[in-house]
Amino acid sequence: MFFLTIKKEIVHNILSFRFIVTYALLFCLVLLAIFLMTDEYGKRLEEYNRAVGKERQWLEKVENMEDPNEQFQEVQRASFVGSRRPKNLSILARGLEGNLPTQVNAGSWGRFIQTSEDRLSKNMLFDIFQTPDFVYVINIVMSLLALLFVFDSVCGEKEQGTLKLLLSNSVPRDIVLIGKWIGGYLSVIAPFSVAALGGFTYIYISGNFVGSNDGIFRFFLIYLISLLYISAFFTLGLMISTLTHRTSTALLVALLVWICWILVVPNLSPVLARLIAPVPSRQVIDGEKQAIDKETQLLIEGINKRKVYGDEAEMERIQSAADKRKNKLEEFYQDRMRSQMSLSQNLARVSPSASFLFATTRLAGTGPVLYRFFQQAQEKFSEAAQQFQRSMYTQDLVEWSPQGPKVKDPDWFKADNLPHFEMFEERIGDSFNEALFDILLLVIYNVLFFMLSYTFFLRYDAT
């Protein structure tokens, strides 16, 4: 009887018009998203490879210079550029991939400039109408389709009159509900899985997973999380169906919940977090730092004027105190910012959509963690650049004469000593552990909705 109800649901869905529409829509959207994002990733990778090639060419040129003094002058003139390799799984979940600079430039003596690709040279409308990625299609389209597939599953049968006939037989209600869930869910995920498999094949053939099983595992995990997310919306739709008695009411409720969870909650949570945990603006913090600098400068100027023994130590103390105050200010800013971000993340988790996005972008390596790793890499790169530049001007390496610098050691230049921009690559196990909280939330949403559906359906008035 159990398999009979599942079979009936599947056949009933397959024979319906909406199944054909869903199938066609999903197949087109998922594949299109993957084609477009693969193309976009390919362009980013090309840009990255070009930048790396340029750097390699420059290194070769410097290495091939016979005169160490000329070599020194060439390195002295250079500004170190680090390139960020694009994430291959941004094909599935773009996340912050498009928002972070693709290159960082450590200027001379620690001056640090961030550069990004030349945005003005490309069509700005691409930023307004961004290419939908795989995760976007699931988050927006698939959640809606799952709801539309099931919103009338119970109330529609009541309205149509088949529920009375169905329940006039000796079939337990829980079997009917579970049969509806399994049959309906399989009908929804079948077209999605076919489309996802098509997308995976395309990514694999286009060589974006070559040499790494890591990417394949991550794809598979993202696919499983997507199934969990689709199931959450499907079960929610089933719950709405067991709560209402008319399809029109069910449709209205389903759309309302979808709008709230997909559009309102995730977009409103940063605003709410800003109100609950305000952070002073960057300008205010920078203004404060400038005020400290000004104050320090005045104090130092005052000390300089009086010219008393021991003033140097006093000036150092003042400078160090000012640096401490500035660091404290920066730490305060970063702490508040972290709290605000964490609060907005937690508020957004009221919606399964946010949990899904956090989990998938974590696995794709393009979520908020990309920004953190980028910042860390940027700091390291900056420090390494400063250290390298300082090491160039030590008296052990170079002697200064009116003709220019004279390098003492002809083999001073070693490419390995140059600063490298390297971003931390999180292992798949660690990414999964970090995403586990959001995955568990999705599981909880599933269980909660199903339990409520079950409770409502046991009391459902079939007449």
Binding site: H12, L165, N169, T463
Partner: protein, 240 residues
């Protein structure tokens, strides 16, 4: 086979059914007459276990519907006023699904064909999607489902309303055949003439009360139409 004992169903202050006592034996057709809101359908819904009674019990083949609804439903088939089936399924697919749901396994295609022919469905409609069926065709398919379930008790809720005279006559002929097979049939209807023509006993229900039951002999002797009109014209309190 169908035993209703002191059955009452109240919705707040509204007494939909009040102290109803009735027994229908196998090989009998019982027609319940009554205006809209008389409590006929409510009694059916309680008998099917969809609604719990306020008081009293309904037993089908000795099984209390409220205590053991799943066991009771094994012995009952239901045909509604407007049989609605899965529109995307063909007549055969619908019949197959509900037959299996009723607990019968290993039914051959021939058996399905025979029952569909028996209820008078045209052969070319067997494998057509039900969403294009007329009401008459759906009613026939509904009775085919009830036949295939082979239940001892058949509950029919105004099954002939909206049917053309030919289809209604064919439908009643089928009921007569099922009576011959020993089924206990309860049919609610507004149609006095058809009730008189087919029923072994006829009851009149007004305001949730079963006012009177006519035996076959009484039906032949008395003017059922006049008595029915008198009952339904009186205020409920007076009629009770």
């Amino acid at each position: 086979m169908l035993e209703i004992l002191d059955l009452s169903k109240h919705y707040g202050d509204v007494k939909a059914v009040q102290d109803l006592n009735l027994t229908i034996e196998g090989g009998e057709i019982f027609c319940m007459l009554g205006a809209n809101g008389a409590g006929k359908t409510t009694t059916l819904m309680v008998s099917l276990g969809f609604t719990e009674p306020t008081a009293g019990t309904v037993k089908i083949c000795g099984v209390d519907v409220t205590r053991d609804p799943l066991e009771a439903k094994k012995h009952v088939a239901y045909v509604s006023e407007n049989v609605m089936l899965y529109g995307n399924f063909t007549a055969r697919q619908n019949l197959d699904f509900f037959t299996k749901l009723g607990g019968r396994k290993g039914v051959s295609d021939d058996e399905y064909n025979q029952v569909l022919q028996r209820v008078g469905l045209q052969t070319d409609a067997f494998d057509r999607r039900v969403k294009g069926f007329s009401k008459g065709m759906r009613q026939k398919l509904g009775i085919a489902i009830a036949i295939m379930k082979d239940a001892e008790v058949i509950l029919l809720d105004e099954p002939t309303s909206g049917l053309d005279p030919k289809s209604a006559a064919e439908f009643l002929q089928l009921l007569a055949e099922l009576r011959q097979e020993g089924k206990a049939i309860w049919m609610t209807t507004h149609d006095i003439f058809r009730a008189k023509a087919i029923a072994d006993r006829v009851g009149i229900m007004v305001g949730g009360n079963l006012m009177r039951i006519f035996s076959q002999a009484e039906l032949e002797q008395e003017d059922l139409e006049q008595i029915y009109v008198e009952y339904v014209s009186r205020p409920v309190e007076e009629a009770a």
